[in-house]
Subunit: 281 residues, 2 copies
């Protein structure tokens, strides 16, 4: 899979690349950033899925992740949140269409042709990363923020063969039970709520998905997050994990909001959490 | 001096505020960001002056400075780079007018009424920070990037009563001898090059400004910086410091460019450098 390096910057003891490649899944060019430590590797990979309105740039610029990634010798991948471009369907709302792919494969018009972010992350991005960077694809972790926290949790649960560790920042834990998720799933997956269940982290856990595969799930949540009660609902994840005996470390942080100032405060902990699993034999 | 808090975010063990206040010097509202650790203080203050095209946001969002600022109990202030607004003169070029104040008080039309960034940083910003945050204004350091590195060095040399420590990232060390500086000084200060000398860090050092006041000046410079040879010329600073016996630690970093990926790599070192001086008796 050919890749174009748009720009590269030396950063700590490594390099940060912005890349573009043609995705078979979305039928569009897709962008992602890749932080790659110096050395021959192969390095473990942590993928960060971003939230609503984000591109591959937000995390890359704002999270302050690369100091620790460099120290831990982790490759960090941050993909865009949706297909984009003139031929791609869109919606004027910030929470639907371009910038709001929700990490599912859409089945409904007008989204179905390009909005295939689940396949993009689980297949095409896997391939382009494996082919172009010094990575050990057997040692992968996934994390994300808000909509991207939902993406990280659901893809980890659906693809345990790809990932060994999972964490999230202020994730949408049950999109079938919050306005953001209901709106997006109705548009992308249609009105039949049965089809939604395969993309709801809390329901997946209750149904036994990836049972026993992840020793611990780490979730950080700001206590002053404007979206906490109506959209994020971490208590639903807590209840689901308790039901099936999944260990969850849910840390509530008073005063922290939904911004990247929250993410940068705890990103080091998440990278260390992933490294502890990924670097173990 | 009244201040408006536009937004605040919890970040590490402290808070990041975006603020606005009316400046007497510029005759306009001015914005800055302030990172303030938890606790009663009074805390030392490090001010970061940004480069061309920047607002108060660039450093705040991209530099990854607050982890270390929090750990060291430093207040970090990042002001905008010029006055702005409809009644304020501007130029279509990126290196003149709004976003390019060059930290001088303009004497020429159409800039003179508002472009008074030297007085803004040395007077108004001092006052508003002193009045609104738990700071020890006797313990201040100053740093900056590119045009802001020029600002940090010249203001440190001109106002040794305000500052105890100074450092810079990829600074314009001699604006009288580079295209960016010549263009800006010609516009803001007029054609008489004699008046420019008071705003050239290298010439100030050679003239003995603040002699003996700063034990060491710390400068980091990327070796792959596109502006290194034509605009930045750190060798001129090196020669000037050698002439007068000013200790300079000039670190050249192969592969690093002019971006915030370079700044974030070394910001921890700069904060530690300032703290070592500011926290000493």
């Amino acid at each position: 899979m050919s890749i174009e390096f748009i720009e590269s910057h030396r950063c700590f003891s490594g390099a940060l690349h912005f890349c573009r490649h043609q995705s078979e899944a979305t039928g569009t060019p897709m962008r992602f950033s890749a932080y790659v430590p110096d050395g021959e590797g192969p390095f473990p990979v942590v993928t960060f899925l971003s939230g609503l309105t984000c591109t591959e740039e937000n995390f890359t610029v704002k999270a302050g992740a690369y100091r620790r990634a460099s120290a831990l010798n982790l490759v960090v991948i941050a993909p865009d949140t949706s297909p984009r471009g003139e031929g791609v369907a869109n919606d004027p709302a910030y929470d639907l269409g371009q910038g709001a792919g929700f990490y599912v494969d859409a089945t409904e018009a007008p989204w179905a042709p390009h909005f295939r972010m689940e396949s993009y992350i689980a297949k095409d991005l896997q391939q382009v990363v494996a082919e172009n960077f010094p990575v050990d694809m057997k040692r992968q972790g996934i994390t994300g923020h808000s909509m991207g926290g939902h993406g990280a949790l659901t893809l980890a649960l659906k693809y345990p063969d790809l990932f060994r560790s999972v964490s999230a920042f202020a994730p949408i834990v049950s999109p079938t039970r919050c306005p953001w998720g209901e709106k997006a799933f109705n548009a992308y997956l249609g009105a039949d709520r049965e089809t939604w269940k395969a993309h709801d982290a809390t329901l997946l856990i209750e149904a036994g998905a990836a049972k026993g595969h992840y020793e611990t799930i780490l979730v950080d949540q700001g206590g002053a997050d404007n979206f906490l009660e109506a959209q994020l609902k971490p208590e639903l994840l807590e209840e689901a994990c308790a039901k099936v005996g999944q260990k969850l470390v849910l840390r509530m942080h008073p005063g922290h909001d939904h911004s990247y100032y929250f993410i940068q405060t705890f990103i080091d902990d998440h990278l260390a959490f992933h490294a502890a699993t990924l670097l173990a034999a």
